[in-house]
Amino acid sequence: MHSVEIRDLDLSFGAIEVLKGLNLNIEDGEFLVLLGSSGCGKSTLLNCIAGLLEVTDGQIFIKDRNVTWEEPSDRGIGMVFQSYALYPQMTVEGNLSFGLKNARMSKDEIAKRVGRAAEILQIKPLLKRKPAALSGGQRQRVAIGRALVRDADVFLFDEPLSNLDAKLRADLRVEIKRLHQQLKNTIIYVTHDQVEALTLADRIAVMKGGQIQQLASPTEIYNRPGNRYVADFVGSPAMNFVEGLLIEDRFEARDQVLSIRDYPFAKQPGGLATMGIRPEHVATGAAAEALSFNTDVPVEVIEPMGSDTLAWTRLADEPFRVRLDGQTSIRPGDRLKIGIDLSKASFFDAETEVRL
């Protein structure tokens, strides 16, 4: 059974098409992350699922029920917003129980549910406070609690951590993951932060221009990106790209020639292509010597990041980033021995940008 099913969804504001013929199936209990840069339609899609935006065409099913025309409150969803959207004049308790009161639930049941949510989220001592008296992390917890008390089938998170500082974001990220493991609800989570996407998701849908570019597990997205956009968007520091030509069993990029026997091509390759390799997949030193392709490159800039160091070099006349150990003592101007294991690389068609 699909928890959420989206069929041929179109949404346009006047002449602007935001979503085009979008199809998406989300399994029961799955944690799906919609990932994309701003304006890619990910939040719009979430609002459509929530029923806050009227779709132009297509259908939305939640728990096998067609909810395309249903009100947000009747869809069996709970939603968490980036700006928390807590009702400022109500206490935390009031915020949590507002939806339940609207549903004309009995007082006992409301108290029970609020108590349970407060327990799970550890906000019991805050129940009598107003949102203004809470910290950012506490507010977001209350916002999650408001979705929790609804006992919804599907939780929708719209960039819930974007307003928090880095440390709090990391803490709450783990908490959300723990919450999902505990409750096993279906979660649709919108973010532009790839770390959040990779750490939280069962599956990631990378979006661009109102369409899903790739829908796969985080490992798949990271290791076998479906096209150049996905490869470039996911991963930090970003993937290196080298333009070149595929001829028979080799890849030629200016003065460099790589044997492509180790790369599992989907079909017989040939023509212009782009090779992508992540900075952390570039071997250096002794490990590089052992690989079939290795070369010396000049180091131009060094970015020490504590746990590791990023070296900006140049390969085939294009900027090339290499991730090194944080304790390395390399300096700009040095030469660095690098090696590339093509089984870890990705090739994309130069024109269609699709993975080869």
């Binding site: 917003f81 980036q82 700006s83 959207a85 400022p88 004049q89 939806g99 609207n102 203004a132």
Partner: protein
């Protein structure tokens, strides 16, 4: 011993920069403020002083001198005995008329305009922008062009000369500016709040009363100030759409001050004018505080 005075750090400016209180800029600034204050306050002073004098003292001239003998008789007369036409019960009649006009007009216009503004800001419907534009254009049409048509309309529906007719006129004429005011305020309330309330199952009225209203005290205070001063000070509509028994205070004041027979009682006229101006004045003083508190209470940022 280190000689601090010879150290290079001992020399030169240190700490806050000294400011002269009698600098040229200060003299100019405070001088201007004082002159302007005197300019505005002097007429008020003359009015208050004159209203506390007896007629013999006024006839002696010296309008700036304080009263030798303070008397509240002119105030009493202005409130309860001054004559307009055949009625000699003072301004009190006009005061109560004005109150009877003011309160329903404010309640009605603000109630309707706030719901209007809320709907236009948050529940956009087909043509809502056009509707809003028409409403705003209405604010720019000169009142004079609508006076006579309104007379006919009020006559046809039987409200001409009745207080409720004037209430209706005030409500309608307050609509454009108030709707604009409320629409802009509600549009500034984060949309996520509205979305969250919809997910929580709240409908149009429920969101209005339980989410929007409690956050909107400041804008209601602004609207009340606007309406109280506007309606209380209105003369044109008051003189046209009412009759002598139902004249609002401003119209009655005019009739008292401009009455031609008998001696001009300057002290009574001054007292009557001050009495008429008292209500907007009180509203400013009372709501000024409320206004600040309202803003402070509503300030919850994300």
């Amino acid at each position: 011993m280190v000689d601090l005075t010879s150290s290079p750090y001992a020399e030169g400016p240190r700490g806050p920069k000294p400011r002269r209180s009698f600098s040229r800029a200060n003299i100019f600034l405070y001088g201007t403020l004082i002159v302007v204050s005197v300019y505005y306050l002097l007429p008020l002073y003359v009015m208050v002083v004159t209203s506390l004098k007896g007629m013999p003292e006024i006839r002696a001239g010296n309008i700036f001198s304080p009263p030798l003998e303070i008397t509240f008789q002119p105030w009493v007369k202005a409130w309860a005995q001054a004559c307009t036409g055949i009625n000699c019960d003072g301004l009190s009649r006009g005061f109560w008329n004005s109150v009877k006009i003011l309160i329903p007009s404010i309640v009605l216009s603000i109630a309707v305009a706030s719901v209007n503004g809320y709907a236009l800001a948050r529940w956009k419907f087909k043509g809502s922008e056009v509707f809003f534009t028409i409403l705003i254009v209405g604010a720019f049409i000169p009142y004079q062009t609508m006076l006579y048509p309104l007379v006919i309309i009020l006559r046809e529906i039987g409200l001409m000369g009745d207080l409720s007719g004037l209430v209706l006129v005030h409500t309608i004429f307050g609509m454009p500016i108030l709707t604009l005011l409320f629409r802009n305020y509600f549009a500034s309330i984060p949309e996520d709040l509205h979305k969250a309330a919809r997910v929580d199952g709240a409908g149009f009225w429920s969101i209005y009363f339980r989410i929007m209203l409690p956050m909107s005290l400041p804008i209601f205070v602004v609207a009340i100030i606007l309406q109280v001063t506007g309606i209380w000070n209105d003369f044109l509509f008051g003189v046209i759409y009412t009759k002598p028994e139902t004249y609002p205070m401003t119209v009655q004041l005019n009739n008292i001050v401009n009455s031609v027979q008998g001696v001009k009682e300057y002290n009574v006229n001054m007292a009557a004018t001050l009495l008429t101006g008292l209500v907007p004045l009180v509203i400013y003083f009372v709501s000024g505080k409320l206004f600040v508190r309202g803003i402070a209470a509503g300030a919850v940022k994300g």
